[in-house]
Amino acid sequence: MSIEFMKDSHSSGVLKEMLIPLVQEWFFQKFEDFSKTQLYGVKTIYDRKNILISAPTGGTKTLTAFLGIINYLVGLALKNELEDKIYAVYTSPLKALSNDIFVNLEEPLSEIYALAEKKGLEMQKIKVGLRTGDTSPSERAKMAKNVPHIFVTTPESLAIVLTSPKFGENFNSLEFIIVDEIHAMTNKRGTYLSLTLERLAELSLIEPVRIGLSATISPLEEVAKFLVGSERDCLIANVRLNKKIEINLDFPGKDILETETLDSQKDLYSKLDKIIEKHRTTLIFTNTRAATERIIHYLDMHYPGKYEGLIGAHHSSMSKDQRFIIEERLRKGDLKVVVSSTSLELGLDIGSIDIVILLKSPKSVSRALQRIGRAGHKLHDNPKGEFIVLDRDDLVECSILMKNMIEKRIDKVEFPKNALDVLSQQIYGMAITKIWNIDNMLKVIRKSYCYEKLTKNDFFEIISYLSGEYSLEHRHVYAKIWYDKETGQIGKRGKLARVIYMTNIGTIPSESFISVVISSPVEMKGSVIGKIDESFLEKMKRGDVFVLGGQKYEFLYSRGMKAYVKSNVSQKVTIPSWFSEMLPLNFDVARDIGKFRKLVKEKIEDKKKCTDFIKEYVYCNDKIAKEIYNYFYEQHKFSEIPDLSTIVIEKFKEEKEYLVFHTLFGRRVNDVLSRAYGYAAARLKVRDIQIGINDNGFYLSGASLDVNKILKFVKSKDIDTILKEAIEKTEILKRRFRHCAGRSLMILRNYKGLEKSAGKQQVYSSILYSAVKKISNEFPLLKEARREVFEDMMDIENAKKILELIEKNKIKIKNVNLPIASPFGLNLLIQGRVDLIKIEDRVSFLKRIDKIYWKMFACCGKF
């Protein structure tokens, strides 16, 4: 196979010649000339070559993909040669694609028809069928009878129709597959799609041409391989539009250290207000749903009534209808400002946005570009955005993001490999369509780039799981397929197989939550303020104070799926939120910040030279440069500036001892390092160790910590073993296991007509985990949960590399003793995500606490 970048685009003349007269006439009535993207893509597709088209938002990608196909189909339709079959499949992860499809497919088609009619040309009808999770049964039935020529769908719905016996036949001679928004598929949804594409190719007698459409993303070779699989060729069109990015960085108020005070809240909202006033439409991105609501609430508080009817929220926990209303109003220009968490990042057409505000760091260059690309969505508009940061770590981070955006240095993405839960769902689907030969099945699976290196062992373990071999005495419980070892054949088991598969398909875990309800004060009684994870509730006891949506609440009691709390509390937070899975800082960006630290450090004693350097390096103004300089200088004076090749470990003592590791490698790597070192510390003292993690580093806290012994304990070659031990008792593993169990259909959302609330699944997550541990500690889905934690959630590969660099002395470690936390350590200690490395078992813990009780109450009469 070969993956190749296209050096040149085709000429406008060649393209024009390629189009049949009718399509040509329509095109030039509507557009002046071909866009750059079209010059690369249209002819390549027409020539039946696989292509990945990467272009920034607004680069007319969708029409590029369709134009060659429309041209081909119109040609057939004019000759009356259009058959009753699906010629092209278009898939996009967005359910609400009807508008985009209207603009890029239905409208062109109807205009071509009008033109044909005007010219008195006879033409068959080219049918477009839309099938998503929202398509009604009657529409589906209609489509089954009246087969569309172009089938528009989501990855999940595509897998469903593939498995339906009659409709599946319509793909028998499929010619084109378009995969849109491919950059949003670097997750299990993508892994799933990659197998669906192979199933589709296997089903079709001709090899369909694959067309991938992507926003700016890197490495494109990787994405191309994902698109075409392990055996096919692919061309890459990396279309760079000469759009100049207008990007700025600022913080509210004069001094960023004051940003955290109440006053600066006023500054922040007045700053937002000013930007909104200056522009027709403003889009604000935050990173969390809670922040989205908070900003709307506070804007209204500071400017009562001003934004009434002009502001809207858009985030993933809103219902589809609610979101659609917001999108509609945006397109119509009714809204002045929209606040979104991540849901508006994808290429949904939302009309014209003038400016995008990035509140808090978007954590990666591609995400930042994607977000600001929402402004200037039109071909010739420049994307325009502004970072607004609220603390000093964010300030440094966003400066580097801004630099990389301007210099177009895109961070790298990866696709999950060999995910066993997704694999089991797909094997089940495959077994439902027909009886397979096992070698042939493995061959088809390995054609997917995500399963290219799937081991026979893992494959057969999943076959064992699906055929019920892990529960011999109750085979009927597990068995979804049968496998005959003699003949090597695999088929489905049970009459309900198809129904179970189709109603439980998908990779997005149905998260389930406990509603948090106010019980006091009386005037707010009964109002639901948000949701928390069930396992979080397990970790709380009466009287604990926690944060939800930026407000503090005291936990009182729980009933069923509700937790009752007291609002307006002033006590200190007693319990950190374990499970707020925040966006992790990209590893490449983290390293770039490390490099920046090193360069600044070299010049730190010369203030003038240093600030000038900062200004030039990150393209910022005086105010920002001065602030960054001050931050670094304080750290330099107080402790030492950690950088790309220096890890600084600071030790200080409060009630307990703290070791703060400044390891600026992003949360995914720090998650591994902190747990490994934490586990070492816990093992050395046989006591639990508290850890805190963020993108810039981590800390350990415990009774007494011996840095050298802890460092010696962790070796790069042992990291897998250590980490496996360290996460064994964590909630994270249990939670991920539940997700894997859902994806591999060990937990069925829909079963025998009962739609079970996800809540019920949630309550059973720990039960499920202990049940599985009873079967085998190496149960394939448990292995997958660990893989997901190690590779997708954390980044064990890069963590291993860092440890190797430490061992080779390429990264040096500096130990510093301090009276209190350093400036760089402060945010970590305040905001780090906290967890516990458990080493002390339940019984010893109980006995130790019992002794403490005896001491406490011995004098005052415990009994």
């Binding site: 892990y470 529960s471 005495e473 109750h474 419980v477 597990y478 397990e538 970790k539 709380m540 006891k541 009466r542 936990f555 009182l556 009691y557 729980s558 009933r559 319990i575 950190p576 639990d688 508290q690 259909l745 060990m746 937990i747 069925l748 959302r749 829909n750 079963y751 025998k752 009962l754 079970k756 019920k760 699944q761 059973y764 720990s766 039960i767 499920l768 202990s770 049940a771 599985v772 009873k774 079967i775 906290v834 516990l836 458990k838 339940r842 019984v843 813990f845 109980l846 006995k847 606490i849 019992d850 009780y853 109450f857 415990k862 009994f863």
Partner: protein, 238 residues
Amino acid sequence: MIKYIGKCLLVVENSEKILVIGDLHLGFEEVLNQSGILVGRKMFEEILFELSKIFEKVGKVNKIVLLGDVKHSFGKIVGQEWKEILDLIDYLNSKLNKNGALIIIKGNHDKILGPVVAKRDLEIHDYFIFGKYCFLHGHRGFEEIYDRKVKSWILGHGHPAVKISEGIKIEKYKCFLEGEFNKMKVVLVPSFFEYNQGSDPRENDLGYGFNFNLEKFNVKIVSDELTVLDFGKLENLK
């Protein structure tokens, strides 16, 4: 006299040894299976293993009392329950002295347990009074349990457990709650069911059919298979 043996109680009365076992919820896994949660069936094996440890310590007994909710599913009997209940009865019978008796109390989950235990010529009881002790499930009361003779109630039903914490570490343990009600001694027995610990009375309503003042009850935490640790009054537990 009451002895705490892990999750169970050994009551000695009129020189007879009575082993008391809390809610078992047999058939739990099959009920999960039926609702689409496809876990294996390992619970029964483990219950027998735990019981064997207890009998190793206490030897054969004169009576065994099951405090109700022997089976998990409401209203119907799932296949797994039939077999397991009968196997359990046979096992427990083998641990009784000559002329010993197995007494099964009816729980709120046990709507139609009768037909199963009838296979072994057993009945189910709303409550069982022996000497000064009264054994009942606990979701509701009966006139007879207020008899003057009765000095102690022993109840199942609530699955009491408590959370113990230190810093950010929290663990939950099954526990007995021991206190007074109507001048009677009351012992609330934790569930024998091993899939979860139970509910903390400080956060959940345990659903007893009586208005116990649990704050004043003594907490005896099940530490391991055979021992408990006394943690004093619930209201003092941090």
